[in-house]
């Protein structure tokens, strides 16, 4: 009886979250610096009616990719955060705990700060807007390979956590050195990158981002069972017959693809990856990944879309950096959840 009740509640919650995601997706396309009537937006999206080509381009080429990017970022960061919290059994773990964003920052810093003359010599323009994406990806891949190489040799998961943080700190140290030797305009470019951005992802970049995120998500679905077992501790998981190192390898690969891709295209976006899994746990009152993964997908999209709407500051000429908004929007939500539940749900 009780179980049936819970299942019905889960279904209702999922239904509501799906509706909310769709609603926010539409609102995100609706809001921008320019006020466009709702009817025009529908006409542009469906390709019917006589829509001014510039307005159509604003909707199809600018707002739609941005909304899709927000959903991708929300899903990817939340899932990798969830995976890291489970595998390290630490509620404060997030997508960047392995040093992935530090690796990406290092790649970008080397491009933006290290080789300023490369820009003017034309190397930058050969790859155009892809240059940043490629170096950020290379940076996070480098960290991933280091972590994987270590993780197949070392048993203790805490050692890997510490090594991940050390790799991250080492990358940050190099980034700091590069920043120290940079002039103002180079620094500004780099700082803007670290603030995150959803709007600079174009349709052709989405053609790469979407498949990457999907691959990462499929990998994460494969880890559902092993993550559930790992919650009980690695020793116990081993006694249950789980091949811990294989499972770890899969989880690390999935997280690196998810967090690495988003960081490459949007810059390091903080907070979402740590907070959203907790929102899922508190809402669904469960630790089962069969529930937590889909709920993190939806909640991540919702928080990200909402943050993007806020960052647009509808009606204003300028926007706020998305990274600040995710923190400012999300932190009160988390505080409210903590205070309401009296305790932070443990992992």
């Amino acid at each position: 009886m009780l179980k049936n009740h819970l299942v019905t509640r889960d279904f209702m919650l999922f239904g509501m979250l799906i509706l909310l995601t769709i609603l926010l997706f539409i609102l995100d396309i609706f809001f921008g610096s320019l006020l466009i009537p709702f009817k025009t937006i529908l006409q542009a999206l469906s390709g019917t009616g006589n829509v001014n080509p510039e307005i159509k381009s604003i909707i199809i080429d600018f707002r739609l990719p941005k909304a899709i990017t927000a959903v991708m970022a929300g899903m990817a960061l939340s899932i990798s955060g969830l995976q890291m919290q489970t595998i390290f059994r630490n509620p404060l773990a997030g997508p960047y705990v392995l040093g992935i964003s530090a690796g990406a920052s290092l790649g970008v810093a080397i491009l933006v700060l290290g080789f300023s003359s490369v820009f003017t010599l034309g190397l930058f323009t050969i790859s155009g807007s892809w240059a940043l994406v490629i170096v950020a990806w290379l940076g996070s891949a480098l960290v991933l390979f280091l972590i994987l190489a270590v993780s197949v040799r070392i048993k203790d998961i805490l050692t890997i956590l510490i090594l991940g943080m050390l790799f991250g700190s080492a990358s940050s140290a190099v980034v700091n050195i590069l920043q120290y030797f940079s002039n103002e305009s180079m620094l500004k470019s780099f700082v803007i990158w670290t603030m995150g951005s959803l709007g600079s992802v174009t349709s052709s970049q989405l053609n790469v981002l979407i498949p990457s995120v999907l691959v990462g998500l499929v990998l994460s679905f494969l880890t559902v069972k092993s993550l559930d077992v790992m919650l009980l501790g690695e020793q116990y998981a081993k006694s249950m017959g789980l091949r811990v190192r294989n499972a770890r390898f899969l989880v690390f690969t999935s997280t690196s693809i998810l967090a690495g891709s988003i960081t490459a295209f949007c810059g390091p976006i903080g907070f979402i990856g740590i907070a959203v899994p907790h929102m899922g746990r508190l809402l669904f009152k469960t630790a089962r990944h069969k529930i937590l993964i889909p709920s993190s997908l939806l909640l991540g999209s919702i928080v990200m879309l909402f943050s993007d709407i806020v960052s647009q500051m509808p009606g204003y000429e300028s926007t706020l950096p998305i990274n600040s908004v995710t923190a400012l929007v999300g932190i009160p939500v988390i505080i409210w959840i903590i205070l309401k539940n009296r305790k932070f749900s443990s992992v």
Binding site: P53, D61, N183, E184, S197, G199, G267, E317, S318, T319
Partner: protein
């Protein structure tokens, strides 16, 4: 002797009155166009005041005493900021300063630069190659030991923010004669160029500098009057975004004034700011669709490169019509752009280029100096 003491007394009194009420109206009276400096000549000694020398500085004045090398420093001025003139060994911390010095014909006095790759002046570049001109670093990385070794008569600095004050006071502590040059804060092209007189004063060539400047004013004004009668003012878009941030010059900025003088209609001319500000990519694109011309597209050399930086720019009509002009015609092999070096000291050349872009029918020139049409 007594008279000289009396003069110095008045000089210092004058300084204090300036410290207390450096209001804008008074400053504007000193020069024709520039607001940022003021020269007072008393006997053989010149007092040079620089006002609010960085962005958002308020009620701030630096005073320098320019004392000829031929006379002794009066006791009453010993603790002031003193420059001995004429200067013979100069370190410049901005390439723009090179442009001003070159315009007056003293570029052989330059013994140090900041960022040697960005220098385009042939004399200075040759000096760098021969090891006679040194790179002293920049901002927090200034090589103070090298500066001390070089024993310059003058270090010309500039500051974006108030943090430059700490570099200046460090140089003062080390007895390095440093002055701050704030020409980049002037709102008008002629205001910036008037800093030629500021520059000339260190070489004891204020009058020569005044003549050079007067010639620039005449040329600038006659070019400006050519477009005054034009009924059509093309709408002008500037800049290139970084990610989804589009930084554009404020409506009262140097660039906005230059566009207006050249008979163009700047897209953000109603903005009240003299500093650059950021607009979102979407609102910039919406405005860009009205523009007939697109200028100053960053470091791009072709329309292809602009398209590669963001393929969505294809909806901008001026790009479709290939009406895109960038001010990077004169680049040196190491990435320096001549417009940053000589543009401020030669506003008439910049204006002539812009008029040629905005009003080709007027036929001011057959060839661009700084600009090029992108293909």
């Amino acid at each position: 002797m007594k008279i000289q003491l009396l003069l110095i007394f008045f000089l210092i009194i004058g300084l204090h009155s300036c410290d207390n009420q450096p209001n804008k109206k008074n400053k504007a009276d000193f020069n024709q166009y520039a607001h940022g400096f003021h020269i007072v000549q008393v006997g053989q000694i010149t007092r040079l005041d620089v006002f609010n020398p960085w962005e958002n500085a308020r009620n701030f004045t630096y005073s320098y005493y320019l004392i000829p090398k031929s006379i002794a420093i009066p006791d009453s001025l010993v603790n002031r900021k003193i420059i001995r003139t004429p200067v013979e060994k100069v370190v410049v911390l901005s390439t723009t300063h090179i442009g001003f010095i070159e315009k007056l014909g003293f570029e052989s006095s330059i013994i140090g630069v900041s960022g040697k790759d960005f220098v385009t002046n042939p004399t200075v570049r040759k000096g760098i190659e021969q090891g006679l001109v040194h790179d002293v670093g920049y901002d927090q990385n200034l090589n103070y030991e090298l500066l001390l070794q070089m024993k310059p008569d003058l270090v010309m600095a500039y500051g974006i923010g108030s943090d430059v004050a700490s570099h200046l006071s460090k140089m003062n502590d080390l007895n390095i004669p440093v002055v701050i040059n704030a020409e980049y804060l002037e709102e008008t092209p002629l205001g910036r160029a008037e800093w030629l007189i500021f520059t000339g004063s260190f070489y004891n060539q204020t009058e020569h500098a005044q003549l050079v400047f007067n010639k620039i004013v005449m040329e600038y004004d006659s070019l400006k009057s050519l477009v005054a009668k034009s009924s059509h003012k093309p709408i002008v878009l500037t800049g290139l975004p970084y990610k989804d941030n589009w930084w554009v010059p404020g409506g009262k900025s140097y660039m906005a004034n230059m566009i207006a003088d050249a008979g163009g209609d700047y897209l953000w001319k109603d903005n009240p700011s003299r500093e650059s500000f950021v607009v979102s990519l979407e609102s910039a694109i919406v405005k860009a669709t009205q523009a007939e011309l697109w200028i100053n597209t960053g470091q791009t050399h072709s329309i292809q490169e602009i398209m590669e930086s963001d393929e969505r720019f294809k909806i901008i009509p001026s790009l479709q019509m290939k009406m895109v002009y960038n001010d990077n015609k004169q680049m040196n092999p190491t990435g320096g752009n001549e417009v940053w070096e000589t543009g401020a000291a030669n506003p008439q050349d910049l204006l002539r280029d812009l008029i040629h872009i905005f009003h080709p029918e007027i036929n001011t020139t057959s060839e661009f100096h700084y600009y090029q049409k992108l293909n």
